[in-house]
């Protein structure tokens, strides 16, 4: 059968295929064919929006962090995370030269060019309109590819179902979001439910506690700041203006994280 295809037939077949494809693509652009499956979460690029209405940023001041884990307790309670998952972690890093201990809290970095958004096969993790990296727990198939892709180790898999009481409730707060099912990946959301609720109530995230991520509110040392980088008067804009030595983690990868760190400084100045 195949040997009967001559050049003319081959060309005809090629033209027909091209025409079919062209018509298909054309119709999909005019909306005649609703490409619903590809549409909402498969934009031309997997980068976050260029000019979001709010550019939410977290600034973590390592000179103020004492590693007390209050932020983690609040996170566990408000986001109702299972005991073996902590969306944020506080790592002890190299001490300063004078021996002062240094800590580094690590939430999801909400990268502008997030590797996890790029690789998720079903688009279950995506950029919101304001550039925050979100999880769609109803889409996630639990393949854990995003965990391999994350340079910050900020993603956690629900290896088992979370049943029973949350040890941090009610001491550190009360759950504000639903528990995730078994078999999906979850991660820090920057407490979007608090941001959205606050915005709709006319509050300013970063200033009003009810509109600010739980970990930022819980930090009694003021080591975590939150706010809109588009607003020049927000706590984060001020902090970044005053601290030109602020850095982000693994900037060489080009992921453009939304979490900035102010390096720890030795306390010589305050001691003298």
């Amino acid at each position: 059968m195949s040997s009967k295809i001559d050049r003319r037939d081959f060309l005809k077949l090629g033209i027909a295929t091209t025409a079919t494809a062209a018509i298909g693509i054309g119709m999909s652009n005019t909306g005649l064919i609703p490409l619903r499956m590809a549409a909402p979460q498969a934009p031309a690029t997997t980068k976050g929006p260029e000019n979001p209405p709010h550019k939410w940023v977290m600034v973590i001041d390592q000179s103020k962090c004492v590693g007390c884990d209050l932020c983690l307790a609040a996170c566990h309670a408000y986001n109702d995370t299972p005991p073996n998952i902590s969306w944020s972690r506080v790592e002890e890093v190299q001490p300063l030269e004078d021996g002062q201990r240094v800590f580094r809290p690590m939430p999801c970095q909400h990268c502008q060019d997030a590797p996890c958004v790029d690789v998720c096969p079903v688009g279950a993790t995506y950029h919101r309109y304001d550039g925050l990296v979100m999880m769609d727990y109803d889409k996630c198939i639990g393949c854990r590819y995003c965990q391999l892709s994350c340079p910050y180790g900020a993603r956690f898999f629900n290896w088992e179902k979370f049943i029973g009481p949350n040890p941090d409730v009610p001491a550190a707060g009360t759950p504000e979001v639903e528990r995730r099912p078994r078999g999906v990946v979850e991660k820090c959301t920057f407490c979007v439910h608090r941001i959205d609720r606050g915005l709709s109530a006319g509050l300013t995230p970063g200033i009003d506690p009810d509109a600010t991520p739980a970990c930022v509110v819980a930090c009694t040392y003021g080591a975590r700041l939150f706010g809109d980088l588009n607003d020049p008067d927000s706590p984060v804009s001020v902090a970044l203006r005053n601290n030109p030595d602020a850095y982000r983690l693994r900037e060489e990868l080009g992921t453009e994280p939304r979490v900035y760190y102010l390096p720890a400084k030795s306390k010589e100045g305050s001691a003298s």
Binding site: Q41, P115, C120, V122, L148, C150, G183, R250
Partner: protein, 433 residues
């Protein structure tokens, strides 16, 4: 009284049929595999009920034994598209019967891969999400789509084989005619298969190569190319090995020695090419310290994976088979040739296992300026091993079934009529003894 008769009849039946049958090695072999399969099904049910918490996978090493089996199965199934493409697109007529063998082996390989994936994902009930919710930027999405589509292509290629199966042909002649009629489309299916396989075999490599977080994998080209090349070589080697090995065991497998010898020779050159490719990829890495990459390279060449890498992958998987298959005196020795082909396939499996693990055993630290790699570890749990063994047992069982009943190894002319005396007595059906 009635009971007594049934019991007596049962014993009679046992003596007449079951006992002689169980003396046949192939039946014992199939029973042996079935045990593994049953245990595997039980273990898989446990995974579905209790969740992935009973595996030894962690957030740091989320892809373990199952993914390695999945990768290996997809690689070794690549004989289907490669042999079909050579036979039907390059019009090598003498390879067309071998393509039938390759397609069947490929079908079994892909079904193994899909079973493993179904176990591995956290939400098996959402396996179809990849087809409905698209992220065209993800290599894994591409792999999902292509594997799904290619599996249906393989199914269309396998249906004629099943159509020729004796019970189908006799009891459902019209259905059988429909199924065997699909054979007309084989050249077209070969073309589609070539496209789909090229896409997903290389994307499987890109799945790793895309990850900027894991420096040993990162690099858009090398992973994709090596995955594609290893798949073709391993696939062809396995098909050749299975054909030769089956022909040794049973007269039901009829081979064309000349064609298989040519294929073995080709695999020899390919192994040499693969050696150069792998060497270029790994040894071309910078000598200076690259955080994450240097540690991973150390694990691979001198650390925990060193035995796998040097012995299974390089020496036994590439060097030794290349020597055997390229030197005519060695290649003409049947045992050596079969061993060499099996070693190539084993080498490809070792490559997949090493590659999957090496990037996960070192997790790159996040402190800027002072990169601290964290070393992780992973040993599969019993449940993972039992389910993996069960799925592999299914594969072997399916291939045994295919050789015995579907005559998938029937390479036609050029076969020396098997001398009656050389057939082991146990291989002759008991009824004719």
């Amino acid at each position: 009284m009635k009971q007594h008769i049934t019991k007596e009849r049962l014993t009679h039946l046992m003596h007449e049929y079951v006992a002689p049958a169980s003396r046949e090695p192939v039946v014992r072999w199939m029973a042996f595999l079935s045990v593994f399969m049953v245990v595997g099904v039980g273990a898989a049910l446990m995974v579905f009920i209790k969740g992935l918490v009973i595996t030894n996978l962690t957030d740091l090493v989320p892809w373990g034994l199952w993914i390695s089996i999945d990768l290996s199965a997809i690689a070794l199934a690549a004989g289907a598209f490669s042999v079909s493409a050579i036979a039907y697109l390059l019009r090598k007529k003498e390879l067309q019967p071998v393509a039938k063998t390759a397609v069947f082996v490929g079908f079994v390989g892909y079904s193994i891969a899909m079973m493993m994936l179904l176990l591995d994902i956290g939400r098996p009930d959402r396996f179809w999400h990849g087809f409905v919710f698209w992220n065209i930027h993800s290599p894994l999405w591409e792999v999902t789509m292509c594997v799904g589509l290619y599996f249906s292509v393989l199914m269309m290629e396998v249906l004629p084989i099943i159509g020729h199966w004796h019970p189908v042909e006799h009891n459902f002649p019209r259905l059988s005619a429909r199924m065997t009629g699909l054979h007309r489309f084989t050249p077209v299916l070969a073309l589609i298969g070539l496209c789909l396989s090229t896409l997903h075999q290389s994307s499987l490599g890109l799945t790793y190569g895309k990850l900027v977080a894991r420096p040993i994998w990162y690099g858009p080209w090398s992973m994709a190319i090596i995955f594609y090349v290893t798949a073709i070589i391993g696939g062809i080697a396995l098909v050749t090995f299975i054909s030769l090995f089956s022909a040794k065991l049973t007269p039901k497998a009829r081979i064309n020695k000349q064609v298989l010898d040519k294929m073995a020779y080709g695999v020899g050159w390919a192994a040499l090419f693969l050696l150069a490719l792998r060497w270029w990829d790994l040894m071309g890495m910078p000598a200076e310290y690259v955080p994450g990459k240097t540690e991973a390279l150390y694990i691979l060449t001198r650390g925990r994976l060193a035995f796998n890498f040097w012995w299974l992958e390089i020496i036994l998987g590439m060097v030794v088979p290349a020597i055997i298959l390229l030197i005519p005196q060695f290649r003409r020795n049947e045992q050596l040739r079969m061993a060499a082909l099996a070693l190539v396939a084993i080498g490809v499996v070792a490559f997949r296992w090493n590659t999957n693990l090496v990037g996960q055993l070192v997790v790159f630290g996040t402190v800027p300026g002072s990169d601290v790699p964290i070393f992780t570890h992973y040993t599969p749990s019993l449940v993972e091993i039992l389910t993996g063994a069960g799925v592999i047992a299914y594969g072997l069982l399916a291939i045994t079934f295919g050789v015995r009943y579907l005559h998938v190894i029937d390479h036609g002319e050029g076969v020396e009529a098997p001398a009656e005396a050389s057939v082991p007595a146990a291989m002759v059906p008991s009824s004719s003894r």
